[in-house]
């Protein structure tokens, strides 16, 4: 058993567990689907962009715990995380600016009803609320993933001889 583990460790630089990897690989799409449900459903019930974003980030954390931070972490580069953080804030502020533009001088920031997505004021309000929740969710997902990587990343590159420096 030790020999097998050491061989696997030399080959893949980690000792992976088949059960943990398979279960997490099966669970991650359902966690992400639940996160999207929470984000979309948040306007009318419990949930919202923040909770859905945290659940979406937690699915990435589960991937990192199951597959090792070197293997899974290289799939989430720092630049992409930063871009997603900015993208969510831009969606949020952009919807607010669209509200200012379409409210024609009333200057009502984030009053979603004035965006002419449909013909009804209330449907515009619901759709704008969903857009803002999606922006919040993207930002929170990127921030949770980035915090976890920054907390857990540095240990193995230092042991391997310093990839970053």
């Amino acid at each position: 058993m030790n020999a097998e583990n050491s061989e696997a460790g030399e080959g893949k630089e980690r000792a992976g567990d088949v059960i943990v990897e398979t279960v997490s690989r099966l669970m991650v799409p359902f966690i992400q689907l639940f996160a999207l449900y929470v984000i979309i459903h948040g306007a009318g019930g419990p949930g919202g962009g923040f909770q859905g974003g945290v659940i979406f980030g937690a699915s990435f954390v589960l991937l990192v715990i199951a597959f090792g931070i070197v293997n899974a972490g290289n799939r989430f580069p720092e630049g992409a995380n930063t871009a997603f953080m900015s993208l969510g804030v831009y969606i949020y502020a952009g919807v607010g600016l669209l509200c200012i533009i379409f409210s024609l001088g009333a200057a009502q920031f984030l009053n979603y009803g004035f965006i002419p997505l449909t013909t009804h004021f209330e449907e515009n309000r619901a759709l704008g609320m969903d857009l803002v929740e999606i922006g919040i969710g993207i930002t929170v997902m990127a921030v949770v993933t980035s915090i976890f990587f920054n907390l857990a990343w540095k240990r193995e590159p230092e042991e391997e001889g310093g990839e970053e420096e």
Binding site: V38, P46, G47, G48, F50, Q51, V54, I55, G57, A58, V61, I65, V144, I147, F148, L151, A152, K154, R155
Partner: protein, 81 residues
């Protein structure tokens, strides 16, 4: 609200909080904080505040535990005397 269930949950929360600040093993302390958050989420549900309970279960028991374990993986596991 069910008063007996509330009493049991609050007693367990106090016991877990006292255990979390007195235990020497920091990994055990993190797991006790995770259990604390779950029980706190159940108390929020008992108070008919499902949104707060959702946030507590997602952030307190899920993400915060992962962050604390990630921080613990870069330091020592046992608390010094």
């Amino acid at each position: 609200m069910i008063p007996s269930l509330d009493l049991v949950l609050l007693f367990l929360i106090v016991a877990i909080a006292i255990a979390a600040i007195t235990v020497r093993d920091l990994l055990s302390a993190i797991m006790l904080l995770c259990a604390y958050s779950f029980l706190m989420a159940m108390v929020w549900v008992e108070m008919h505040s499902v949104d707060v309970a959702f946030t507590e279960a997602a952030v307190g028991a899920g993400a915060s535990t992962a962050f604390l374990i990630a921080a613990l993986s870069r330091t020592t596991r046992w608390e010094k005397k």
